[in-house]
């Protein structure tokens, strides 16, 4: 697996932040509330590393929106929230009292939309800035128990994962989730090459 140099790592952060910024302005226009999205850190990790990172989150049930993509680089983008935080977020966005997500299919649909906007922003940013058209499947919402697997798509030793923590601030609510981009075999190398070309073009 190729590694990112310092400039490429900066470019990756920039690409994700541009996508998240775009998603924030779209969310603001939909819910007419001031939503702030912040990505304090981004890490590129091997599958074992991401399992360790996720293990910390597995004290809760998790709500996951997954957007599979194909193209020069293929894989899946995911937005992962502890279920309780996800329910709170949807309640605030929909301006109503809180119910568990499983009590209301419409709520999980709303969370799918939030994930859809966010992941579209990020993936759109990759596709547009790196000039790499991608094909997408329809986003899917799932919930996972504390001990169940399946939060991440199947991975092998050559899979690379971009792990970005995302902070939502809306009204008094502060919710932390994760954006996880899983790049299949060979795809991360293609991504690094594309980012390298993008950096060269900028300089």
């Amino acid at each position: 697996m190729m590694a990112l140099d310092a400039l490429q790592a900066d470019a990756l952060r920039e690409i994700i932040n541009i996508g998240v910024g775009r998603a924030a302005s779209m969310l603001n226009s939909i819910v007419k509330a001031h939503i702030q999205l912040r990505i304090p850190e981004i890490q590129v990790v091997a599958p074992d590393g991401v399992r360790e990172l996720l293990a910390e989150r597995r004290r809760h049930r998790l709500s996951v929106v997954r957007l599979p993509f194909r193209g020069r680089f293929s894989g899946a983008a995911e937005l992962v929230f502890p279920e309780e935080s996800a329910a709170k977020l949807v309640s605030v966005l929909a301006s109503e009292d809180e119910l568990p997500l499983d009590a209301d299919g419409a709520r999980s649909a709303a969370l799918t939309e939030v994930g859809n906007i966010l992941l579209n922003g990020v993936m759109g940013s990759f596709a547009n800035l790196l000039k790499q058209p991608l094909r997408y499947a329809v986003p899917v919402y799932s919930e996972f128990g504390k001990d169940a697997g399946g939060v991440l798509p199947e991975m092998d030793a050559t899979t690379a994962v971009v792990f970005a923590q995302i902070h939502f601030h809306v009204h008094e609510l502060h919710v932390v989730g994760d954006i996880i981009l899983v790049f299949g075999t060979g795809s991360f190398d293609a991504l690094v090459e594309s980012i390298g070309a993008y950096v060269r073009e900028l300089s």
Binding site: L67, L93, A94, A109, N116, N120, G124, Y136, V138
Partner: protein
């Protein structure tokens, strides 16, 4: 070449609303479900811009995301929770159907850009069920709160009653003691004709000061009266 409406006839057999848009928002296909829901017949919809047919979709929160899909971007989901409805489709009661909508890009022939397939599910009944569930839950929670408040009030009253009873019992005990003392002092007291000691109910002779002190709580201070002074100390 842009496909005609016949190319999408399969979408007549799905239990949802279905519309196909060209990359300039022109309607290429409009299924019968949508004819029923919106009252707009297919002949009137085909060839017209969806933004004209449904002006609400020209708002940036819809149009920008539709644009993204038509430029080859990822599918867009519009939930009933955040948007209510996608197309204006009134029920006989006048209420608008609540809709869950997914818009996915379909690559058209080379040079023809991307088409958008819009699938619209009517989730009005689901929403009603959830609203009914929420109302039921709110009612049950309110009843539980009322019951809790009543129980707390009952507990407070019981504690207050218990304190009052305890206070009365103390007063009653004090009263009883006083009555006993009065009874002791108000009866006939056997007293020594010489030394003036008093015999108690157990047969012991006590000095008059000690007896009265014990039964009436009276304290004594000792002095000498003038007559006794003359009688006992005149020689000094």
């Amino acid at each position: 070449m842009t496909p005609g409406a016949d190319a999408f006839e399969l979408l007549e057999h799905v239990p949802t609303g279905a519309v196909v848009l060209r990359d300039d928002f022109t309607v290429l296909f409009w299924n019968r479900m949508l004819e029923t829901w919106t009252g707009i017949p297919r002949e009137r919809a085909l060839g017209r811009s969806i933004l004209e047919l449904q002006p609400r979709l020209a708002e940036p929160r819809f149009r920008d995301r539709l644009d993204d899909v038509l430029r080859g971007g990822p599918p867009a989901v519009f939930s009933a929770k955040l948007h209510g409805h996608f197309l204006s489709a009134p029920l006989p009661s006048g209420e608008l159907r609540r809709q869950q909508t997914t818009v996915a890009g379909i690559p058209a022939d080379p040079g023809a850009g991307t088409l958008a397939l819009v699938i619209i599910e009517d989730v009005t009944e689901l929403t009603r069920s959830v609203d009914a569930y929420r109302a039921m839950r709110d009612k049950a929670l309110a009843e539980v709160e009322t019951r809790k408040a009543a129980e707390a009030e009952l507990l407070r009253s019981r504690e207050s009653l218990r304190a009052t009873v305890a206070e009365k019992e103390v007063l009653l005990e004090e009263l009883k003691e006083k009555v006993d003392k009065v009874a002791t002092l108000s009866g006939m007291l056997p007293i020594c004709a010489h030394c003036k000691k008093i015999r108690d109910d157990r047969g012991y002779w006590e000095r008059v000061e000690a007896f009265i002190s014990k039964h009436a709580g009276t304290a004594f201070s000792h002095g000498i009266c003038p007559e006794c002074y003359d009688k006992y100390y005149s020689h000094l």
